[in-house]
């Protein structure tokens, strides 16, 4: 059986789960609560691979045709 690593697909940007400290820093930097972040489901295939839990924040490093590279954040929600 072939092993498929979906993280390597060219349309999938890099996802990194933030540590507790990084998460606090992020929320303080922008003065927001977790609820205000864009969301990602726990059932998302990438979150499954990273073993994310509800309430985690993932840092997403997107390749952008305009900015070169841009970081984006999503909070893991249930669903």
């Amino acid at each position: 059986m072939k092993k498929i690593n979906i993280e390597r697909h060219e349309l999938v940007p890099k996802h990194i789960i933030l540590s507790e400290k990084e998460r606090q820093e992020l929320l303080e930097k922008y003065g927001i609560t977790l609820k205000q972040l864009p969301k990602i489901l726990v059932s998302d295939p990438i979150i499954q691979i990273l073993n994310g839990k509800v309430g985690d924040v993932v840092k997403i490093i997107r390749k952008s045709p305009t900015a070169g590279e841009i970081t984006h954040y999503r909070v893991v929600i249930k669903g």
């Binding site: 059986m1 072939k2 498929i4 690593n5 979906i6 390597r8 697909h9 060219e10 349309l11 999938v12 940007p13 996802h15 864009p38 969301k39 990602i40 489901l41 998302d44 295939p45 990438i46 979150i47 997403i60 997107r62 952008s64 045709p65 305009t66 900015a67 070169g68 590279e69 841009i70 999503r74 929600i77 669903g79």
Partner: protein
């Protein structure tokens, strides 16, 4: 204002601009001091180019996409002898993307092969393997023998009789299969009426013999140095399991399928790519930033939301804004039954009652801090 910004320009300017600055500095052999000044200048014009807080980017994006889209309307419903695969494109496709339809009208896959398997022979072989073949495609004749209550199948190629029997046995339970004079005879167990026999025949015809379910037709073509397989019909999960398929590039045009297999971020990228491709095919030049905004808003909630009353517009918090969009009475009645409150934080509801809208300069309020 500018002086107050931190000196470290890195992290403030986007990666592509930083790279460009570095490149120019290297090319012109700028001294550190001059480079510093260049960066300051670049930073100034970058800040000027940025949207200001309160700018209504959504409306600008909506206009920038829909104005060219109106130009598109007239041309798209025509198909004038196009060769190859007929794929939905133009306005119908654009609507399909933004409505986030479960299944595109013409699901299409682009299958890339791994470098070491890239040859015409290999591509052809894989193409033949994945295309879905039903019993219907591999037989010469199927007939019902009414006096004996059985079905006779005459295969096109007598050598493939084994695979046909196997496929039928896998799908149907209460039948016995026999081979007689190069024909497959299928006898249902117990007594069946003619109507039931006919139903069994229909089911047999539709049974898959080989290939991947959903892949209706396949075309191989050369792009650059590479052989690529294009399919009509899509089944990402199964196609990726094939050894030779490059799982890092193979895509489908079904956004939901992409989200299921590769996650929401990949789906966002696909929405952007597909929408932009559709516009560009029609010779329309829409800035990618507008399309990116649409991609973002469709995926903020973690799942794909269509633009429209069941998706983004339906999720608005303000009752009056929703009522103003579509299905006015439904929203008003529901809101009154549920005792909902409208906080007047959006644009629509404030326009309706003639207040200052929270956008542009109207977005800001004064906050006073009193010393205790």
């Amino acid at each position: 204002m500018l002086e107050e910004l931190p000196k470290s320009y890195l992290g403030e300017l986007p990666r592509s601009i930083i790279e460009e600055v570095e490149e120019v500095a290297k090319e012109r052999r700028l001294s550190e001091e001059k480079k510093e000044r260049l960066i300051e200048e670049v930073k100034k014009s970058y800040l000027k180019g940025k949207f200001e807080p309160g700018e209504t980017v959504g409306i600008i994006a909506a206009q920038s996409i829909s104005e060219p889209a109106t130009q598109m309307t007239m041309r798209t419903y025509h198909f004038a002898g196009s060769a190859g695969i007929k794929v939905t494109y133009g306005l119908p496709r654009l609507i399909e993307i933004f409505d986030a339809k479960r299944e595109p009208e013409t699901p299409v896959m682009t299958i890339f092969l791994k470098k070491r398997f890239n040859s015409r022979k290999r591509a052809k072989k894989i193409a033949e393997e994945i295309v879905e073949k039903k019993i219907f495609d591999v037989i010469r004749r199927i007939s019902m023998n009414l006096s004996e209550g059985s079905i006779e199948i005459e295969p096109l190629n007598p050598k493939r009789i084994g695979t046909i029997i196997k496929a039928i046995k896998e799908k149907m339970r209460d039948i016995t299969v026999r081979v007689k004079a190069k024909k497959v005879i299928i006898i249902p167990k117990g007594k069946v009426s003619i109507g039931e026999l006919r139903k069994i025949r229909e089911r047999i015809i539709e049974t898959r013999v080989s290939g991947i379910s959903g892949i209706a037709s396949v075309v191989i073509r050369m792009e650059g140095e590479e052989w690529i397989i294009n399919t009509i019909g899509s089944n990402l999960e199964e196609v990726l399991k094939i050894e030779e398929v490059d799982e890092t590039r193979t895509i489908t045009n079904n956004i939901h399928e992409m989200a299921r297999v590769f996650g929401i971020e990949a789906a966002r990228n696909l929405i952007i790519n597909e929408a932009l491709k559709t516009l560009q095919e029609q010779g329309l030049d829409v800035d990618i930033r507008h399309v990116m905004l649409v991609g973002d808003i469709m995926t903020v909630s973690g799942s794909i939301k269509p633009i429209g009353r069941y998706g983004v517009a339906g999720a608005k918090t303000s009752i009056l804004a929703r009522a103003a969009f579509e299905e006015t009475i439904k929203h008003l009645v529901r809101a009154s039954v549920r005792n909902e409150v409208d906080n007047f934080q959006g644009i629509f509801e404030n326009v309706m009652v003639g207040q200052v809208i929270p956008s542009g300069t109207g977005m800001f309020d004064l906050v006073a801090k009193f010393e205790e």
